[in-house]
């Protein structure tokens, strides 16, 4: 496979993820993780680490795709994936926005949104499940997940602070206990 051909393959995969991301990026995580493992040999553990990188940066968490692209094909891979992942959805938004400006609100747009909501929730739970299966592999990681969830539900502390605090605590606990 030539380099150009492999970049084209990479581009078509991420262009498809862009269009399939119903209700947000979490929906495509299981599909993305499976493809990364099968075609590019990226382990579940590495995938979750790269997912963590996406969480550490500002902006959309799905910018993690850049780190995947870099892993697969260096800078050319990162650029390819960036363009492929954001362009199709951007074009659809532009076309959708124009149509919506002309047509205005219709009962069908509402119907599509209502239909997509439970579907995207189901896919989000699948995404959550895919990440959880890799990320929660020991008492410390389970505890961190539960702690983060509980603090988000029960307090009004800024989610960024919760994430940072939980992660820092986690590193220390994992280091001391030697458990994941």
């Amino acid at each position: 496979m030539t380099n150009t051909a492999s970049l084209l393959g990479l581009a078509s995969s991420f262009a498809l993820f862009s269009i399939l991301a119903v209700g947000g990026g979490v929906a495509v995580l299981p599909e993305m993780q499976a493809l990364m493992a099968q075609r590019y040999g990226i382990s579940g553990e590495s995938f979750v680490h790269i997912y963590g990188i996406g969480q550490l940066a500002p902006g959309p968490n799905m910018l993690m795709v850049l780190a995947l692209g870099y892993r697969i094909a260096g800078f050319a891979g990162a650029l390819t994936v960036l363009v492929a992942f954001f362009t199709p959805a951007l074009l659809l938004s532009l076309i959708g926005g124009r149509i919506w400006d002309k047509v205005g609100e219709t009962p069908w747009r509402r119907a599509v949104q209502n239909a997509l909501e439970p579907v995207s929730l189901g896919l989000m739970i699948s995404g959550l499940y895919a990440i959880a299966r890799e990320a929660l592999n020991g008492p410390v990681s389970f505890g961190l997940c539960a702690l983060t969830f509980a603090l988000l539900v029960a307090t009004r502390i800024n989610p960024v602070l919760i994430m940072l605090g939980a992660s820092a605590t986690g590193v220390v606990l994992m280091k001391i206990s030697g458990l994941p």
Binding site: V22, H49, A57, N61, L66, G97, D101, N114
Partner: protein, 187 residues
């Protein structure tokens, strides 16, 4: 809504759009970007009124892709055409893209650095709790509705238990969901 155009007291230039979205892209750690966009567009700059913002948000949720990015594209286009959309989207993703790339390069070059791996494992574990909470918040209403609950369960089963491909899952579930939610089907 009587008027679908955005009430824009002063239309921003391309540089202004790019710069304002760049700030959001640089400070929106931990998600919740739509809230930042609302604050910028509706409250601070008043480029968009609240109703138009909600309508654009609904549209961005209807379309595939990331909601925050779709929203930037839709509003950017209305405020300053195609180049406005591009300026807004590029501004929004540029800071995070640069940081992710830097972190990605560091990660690839320190593959066996135990501390880096621990840190990313801890972040991923905490992020799992964050996604769980997002699901809880987004699903609050839907989890109480038997039909929605059934659709959620079927989608999850097809995707995670039967491990069908995502296009196939959507091809099966979306028509069914649309049928049940067609105009006039449910009050």
């Amino acid at each position: 809504m009587s008027d679908t155009t955005l009430a824009a007291p002063a239309r921003p230039g391309l540089g202004e759009l790019f710069f304002q979205f760049l700030i959001i892209g640089a400070i929106s750690f931990g998600g919740g970007i739509v809230a930042y966009e609302r604050s910028l567009l509706v409250d601070q700059k008043k480029w968009v009124d609240a109703d138009s913002f909600m309508a654009a948000l609904a549209l961005s949720q209807t379309l595939p892709g990331l909601n925050s990015v779709n929203l930037a594209a839709i509003v950017g286009q209305r405020l300053a055409g195609l180049s406005g959309a591009i300026a807004s989207v590029v501004g929004l993703i540029l800071p995070g893209a640069i940081l992710v790339l830097i972190l990605g390069i560091l990660y690839e070059n320190s593959h066996n650095n135990p501390l880096a791996n621990l840190a990313l494992a801890a972040v991923a574990a905490a992020a799992t709790g964050l996604i769980a909470n997002t699901v809880r918040e987004l699903g609050r209403k839907r989890f109480r509705d038997p039909l929605s609950l059934a659709l959620i369960a079927v989608t999850f089963t097809l995707m995670s238990i039967l491990k069908l491909s995502l296009p196939l899952v959507l091809a099966i579930v979306f028509p069914i969901a649309l049928w049940f939610n067609r105009p006039g089907a449910r009050s």
